[in-house]
């Protein structure tokens, strides 16, 4: 018999109206890195929440080290040695790492006083043992996202976890941090820890995992050895059909500049200068991708172009007309469309029906309203057409945006933005959190827009996306465009170094050395 540390057998979990998990089997061997692969909404998180005791399954059994158990809540899971690092960290920001880690199981001395010294010492030891290099006395709000994540891992270890569930751990990390995380995961398994990695990123699985269990639409599809498979097969298993990864596109045919930015300076809400004299051109018929680590002024740049934020100095021109510091409505009317980075915060009024979201910038124009009275007939007719054209899967145009999946929400936004036939389309993180199928569609749309002669400005933290879709890559670091490269002439390593502030020569040299 195989030595399984975790076995979930024939798990079935229902929610009113849907079966989230149906007869799923997951068997994790001791000391392996086991990937749980599936699209958004496939049921990965539900399955892990069952294992972590947040949900009770309707059917099926869970065994830990061969023994049948009932995990009624996360405390039981902790006692059984199961720990979970959530995608959104569960940390108290003003607390130190050590204070966060001991929260809920504080060591005490002298009748009720927290023994923080002892805790810090223990945590330091643990950190060193697994090569996590976390400073226990640092405040969480002062440390990088990567270190916060390691603090979360440390928290599970401190509580005696032998199986750690990592939920989409690389989504928030830079390429360099991802490499660090991978080596940490290897260290952990050397020490006998088993890892369940929830992800929909195939490259990571190929790189770090031993075995992978694929689930699709709530059904367990297969469990395969990573060394016996490849990216294409995994993608087909996950999506249920062959997937095209390399986005097909013809070479760009750039024409006149549509967007011209000269010496732009923008401050953030805390009055810190975030865009520091930026210059950029985007021409008709090309996609310019901005690569950069989050927080280097990308958000402020987009907000300045779209009129959501005032710029301090410099000039933004659209079709040679200056649009600097115009209101968002004026910018929109002059031919800019914007797929916002945070679709829930900016892109949609979640409590409005899809149809009313589709006219969010045009409701005041004919035929959607006349003499300030809305024409719901025209609004719904228009929405029905776009829903059809852009394949937005919604029960009805009357359905609230909140009820749609992320991919379909995004498709609705893209439908709305593209339909206005803008001269400039700004796409900020257009595929964040979406699954392979939706990503494919959205990339294809962006390229179609380019081919129609529009200028496309793509901002993404996913290097793959920037490299695949762009015709030209502008690397943004510390509020400036520090380098421009052609996607076919660069690689992830070089881009990663440029994004971290290395000069182009240095980056090229270093990236070359490592080959």
């Amino acid at each position: 018999m195989e030595n399984y540390v975790i076995e979930m057998l024939n798990i079935r979990k229902e929610f009113p109206g849907i079966v989230a998990n149906n007869n799923i089997n997951l068997q994790v061997k001791n000391g392996e890195i086991h990937a749980l692969l599936g699209e958004n909404g496939a049921g990965k998180s539900t399955l892990m929440n069952v294992l972590f005791g947040l949900y009770q399954p309707e059917k099926g059994e869970i065994r830990v080290r061969g023994e049948k158990v009932k995990i009624t809540d996360p405390n039981v899971a902790n006692r059984l040695g199961i720990g979970m690092v959530h995608q959104h960290f569960m940390l108290v920001e003003p607390f130190t790492v050590a204070q966060n880690i001991i929260l809920g199981s504080e060591p005490t001395k002298g009748g009720g006083f927290v023994d923080i010294k002892k805790a810090e010492k223990e945590i330091k030891e643990l950190s060193d043992r697994y090569g996590l290099s976390v400073d226990p006395s640092a405040k969480v709000r002062d440390i990088s996202v990567g270190m916060q994540q390691r603090a979360e891992i440390l928290k599970t270890l401190y509580r005696g976890a032998e199986v750690i569930i990592l939920d989409e751990p690389t989504a928030v990390l830079t390429p360099q941090e991802i490499l660090e995380l991978i080596s940490i995961m290897r260290n952990l398994t050397k020490e006998g820890i088993s890892i369940i990695l929830i992800t929909h990123k195939l490259k990571e699985i190929m790189e770090v995992c031993d075995r992978v269990t694929v689930i699709r639409k709530g059904e367990g599809i297969d469990t395969v050895n990573v060394k016996d498979t490849n990216v294409d097969d995994l993608a087909a298993l996950m999506v249920g059909r062959q997937v095209n990864f390399k986005t097909e596109k013809t070479p760009a045919n750039p024409k006149d500049p549509i967007l011209t930015i000269n010496n732009l300076q923008v401050k953030d809400s805390r009055q810190a200068m975030m865009v520091k004299g930026l210059n950029l051109d985007v021409r008709a018929g090309e996609i310019v991708g901005i690569a950069g680590i989050d927080g280097n002024g990308q958000s402020e740049l987009i907000e300045a172009i779209t009129g959501l934020r005032k710029s301090e100095a410099g000039e933004i021109k659209l079709n040679s007309k200056t649009i600097t510091n115009l209101s968002p409505r004026k910018v929109t009317e002059s031919g800019v469309a914007h797929i916002p980075q945070d679709r829930h915060k900016f892109g949609l009024v979640l409590d409005y029906p899809i149809a009313e979201n589709i006219v969010l910038q045009t409701y005041y124009q004919k035929p959607f309203s006349k003499n300030k009275i809305l024409s719901f007939k025209s609004i719904y007719k228009h929405a029905e057409k776009l829903i059809e054209d852009f394949d937005v899967r919604t029960p009805s145009p009357r359905t609230k945006a909140r009820a749609l999946s992320g991919g379909n929400q995004q498709k609705a936004i893209i439908a709305r933005e593209v339909d206005r036939s803008p001269d400039l389309l700004i796409a900020a993180q257009p595929t964040r959190g979406l699954d392979v199928g939706a990503i494919e569609t959205i990339h294809r749309r962006l390229i179609e827009e380019r081919d129609k002669g529009r200028a496309v400005l793509l901002i993404s933290f996913e290097l793959d996306e920037v490299m695949n879709v762009s015709d030209r890559i502008a690397v943004m670091f510390d509020g400036q465009i520090v380098a421009e490269v052609k996607p076919e002439e660069t690689n992830e390593q070089e881009l990663g170094l440029l994004m971290a502030g290395s000069s182009k020569e240095k980056a090229r040299q270093k990236a070359g050395d490592n080959k």
């Binding site: 949609l348 009024v349 409701y363 809305l374």
Partner: protein, 348 residues
């Protein structure tokens, strides 16, 4: 799964039912007969044409203050200042009523317009402070309430009387109360304000649901970030929402001024018309039809309560408990949602 619209109807009804149930338990606990108590309440609210007239009369300002608060709520604002806006509206209407001599067809609309204007000005201050300076509207409107209370008291003593505690009577041409209507309802204090309140309920519904203004206001209420992103002016909408909300509350005050009383007196404390509007809006799920029904229920409870001590010996304060329990159960709608869900599940 039940859709939201249905739940928006079921939850308030269920809350009202639970409120009455808890009220009954309290009556029992204090040795009163709840059946007697509630039948006295019902008698008091609907027992005769007089009582019905009084119930309607009591509901009229509540419809308007409820609409005022619902309107602000839908735009993402909490206008706790409806109380103060009622005061200034009441005062403005009475001032127009006593000062001018005009034909009724002009005098009444003029008085209502003056009240709306006064309420709007009173709400404009917190609106503009919120929009330009980010000052929370709750803080400013609470302060504005006190300013309204004491300023109107002062003006009644100085401008509308010679140091008295009551203004003179408004001209008949400004009055919404007509002897014919009052006679029909057993000489109650009913007045034509019920038509005014229905007109404004229809206006609020139409404005919010059917016009581009309402579309913007609701978008700002749901998600100001998305509203800004799509080119709406969040600041202008905040001010507009407060101004309209204040105007509605001001008209609520006018209903007392040129309808029920025909004058204004100095107040030692708040009328609670504005504050009750919060409960009315909450129970009415912030929709115009819901507000009308909720205001009618509150009017009935308040008028009916007066008959409870003489007819059944139950103290009228108990009605306040019932009202409080209804509000509690509406506010705790999450709990009721769960109860309804469980009920549904067992049914299946």
């Amino acid at each position: 799964m039940m859709d939201n619209k249905k739940l928006n109807i079921i939850i308030p009804i269920f809350s009202v039912f639970l409120g009455f149930l808890v009220g009954a338990i309290v009556m029992l606990a204090f040795g009163y007969n709840p059946i007697e108590g509630y039948s006295a309440l019902f008698q008091g609210a609907f027992g005769s044409m007089y009582n019905i007239g009084e119930t309607i009369r009591r509901s009229i300002p509540l419809v308007l203050s409820g609409l005022a608060i619902a309107f602000a709520f839908r735009s993402g604002l909490f206008n706790i200042g409806a109380e103060g806006q009622v005061f200034v509206g009441w005062f403005a209407a009475v001032w127009v009523g006593v000062t001018f001599d005009l034909p009724a067809i002009i005098h009444i609309p003029f008085a209502i317009l003056a009240a709306a204007f006064a309420g709007a000005v009173w709400a404009f201050v917190p609106g503009i402070l919120k929009a330009t300076r980010g000052v929370h509207e709750v803080v400013v409107t609470i302060m504005m309430n006190y300013i309204a209370l004491h300023t109107t008291n002062y003006l009644i003593r100085t401008l509308l009387s010679d140091g008295g505690s009551q203004s003179g009577r408004i001209a008949n041409s400004a009055s919404l109360a007509t002897p014919g209507l009052q006679e029909m309802f057993g000489y109650s204090q009913i007045h034509w304000g019920f038509i005014v309140s229905i007109i404004f309920a229809v206006f609020v519904w139409f404005f919010l649901e059917k016009t581009t203004y309402g579309y913007e206001l609701r978008a700002v209420g749901f998600n100001p970030h998305a509203a800004k992103y799509s080119g709406m002016s969040v600041k202008r909408n905040i001010v507009l929402a407060m101004v309209i909300s204040g105007a509605l509350a001001g008209i609520g005050g006018a209903m007392e001024g040129i309808g029920t009383f025909g004058y204004m007196y100095t107040h030692g404390a708040f009328t609670n018309l504005g504050f009750d509007g919060i409960a009315v809006a909450l129970l009415g799920a912030n929709t115009a039809p819901g507000v009308v029904l909720a205001a009618f229920l509150f009017g009935a409870l308040k008028v009916g309560a007066l008959s409870m001590p003489p007819l059944s010996g139950v103290p009228s304060e108990l009605v306040e408990i019932v009202i409080a329990m209804i509000i509690f159960f509406v506010a705790a709608s999450y709990m009721i949602r769960l109860l309804i869900m469980r009920f549904k599940k067992e049914e299946n």
